[in-house]
């Protein structure tokens, strides 16, 4: 693999891990917020 190949691999992995974690966290949070609002007694 060339130097550029290692660089691309590194940046893609970092972007994938950070981006993937952020997206998954936001989805879990949105689902939990929905569940909480559904569970709250309505006035």
């Amino acid at each position: 693999m060339t130097d550029v190949g290692y660089v691309v691999a590194g940046w893609v992995i970092a972007g994938g891990v950070l981006g993937g974690y952020t997206v998954r966290l936001r989805r879990r949070l949105a689902r939990a917020e929905r569940e909480r609002s559904d569970a709250e007694p309505r006035a």
Binding site: G10, V17, L29
Partner: protein, 254 residues
């Protein structure tokens, strides 16, 4: 266990939005400078561009585990004990594990073209891998239920403080042992390193971008912990209510 410090959100919504957008903008700047703006290293060539991710990842691992240790100490100290510290400790440890994994993987990718190997049984590498597994174990420990919530949180806090002992070992490993990994350079006054201005700027942009992302994600992970605790409490309430109604039903039949 509940005190005035317990809260549903760590950051105000406006501050959170500003942080999120600042993290995103600084990440875009990091990509621009790291891949195109910074000059190619004279010795290592383009492979050195992995440094702009590897060093901030390692810095964030230190910071995240420091936050976990500090929050754990605040929880153990009776005067400052509050649920907020236990949740902050857990949220920060999860992020620390992610950044440690990134530092290890990126270090390996950088090491292959520069050292000629993916991995070495080097003091810095081994102590960092140990740090990863120690806090992975801490996260697993947090999932083990117990009877008394304060007792469980105390157990977790003690485990976090024990795991944190490895952080200074990781940091000073390059001085205490002969290692393949280089010693500290950027902040080492004895070496007086000459780093190209744009390279130094890019490293700072990376550190700032990762730090902003860490604070934003810490806030979001904390909020998720609050909501998950609420889900568990509601599930417990429902289970108790079901048992009560079953007992009442059985009593009326007999």
């Amino acid at each position: 266990m509940t005190t005035e410090l317990d809260r549903d959100q760590l950051l105000a919504p406006v501050l959170r939005r500003v942080l999120g957008w600042s993290a995103l903008v600084s990440m875009v700047a990091l990509v621009a400078f790291g891949l195109f703006g910074a000059p190619t290293d004279a010795v290592q060539g383009d492979a050195q561009r992995v440094m702009y991710l590897h060093v901030p990842s390692a810095w964030l691992a230190y910071l995240a585990f420091f936050v976990t240790a500090a929050a754990s100490a605040f929880f153990l100290w009776p005067r400052t004990r509050a649920t907020v510290w236990d949740r902050v400790a857990g949220a920060s440890a999860e992020l620390g594990v992610m950044f440690t994994a990134l530092a290890l993987v990126l270090g390996s990718i950088w090491g292959r073209p520069v050292w000629g190997i993916w991995w070495a049984w080097d003091a810095r590498l081994v102590s960092t891998a140990l740090l990863f597994f120690l806090f992975l174990g801490y996260l697993a420990l947090r999932r083990i239920p117990g009877g008394d919530p304060v007792g469980v949180a105390k157990r977790n806090a003690i485990a976090a403080l024990i795991a944190f002992v490895d952080v200074p070992i990781v940091h000073f490993s390059v001085e205490w042992w002969r290692t393949l990994h280089q010693q500290a350079t950027v902040f080492n006054p004895e070496l007086n390193p000459q780093i190209h201005g744009v390279m130094g700027l890019t490293l700072w942009i990376g550190t700032i971008a990762f730090t902003l992302a860490f604070v934003y994600l810490l806030d979001r992970r904390y909020r998720l912990a609050v909501l998950e605790d609420g889900q568990e409490e509601r599930a417990l309430d429902r289970a108790i209510e079901d048992r009560r109604s079953q007992a009442v039903g059985a009593g009326s039949v007999s």
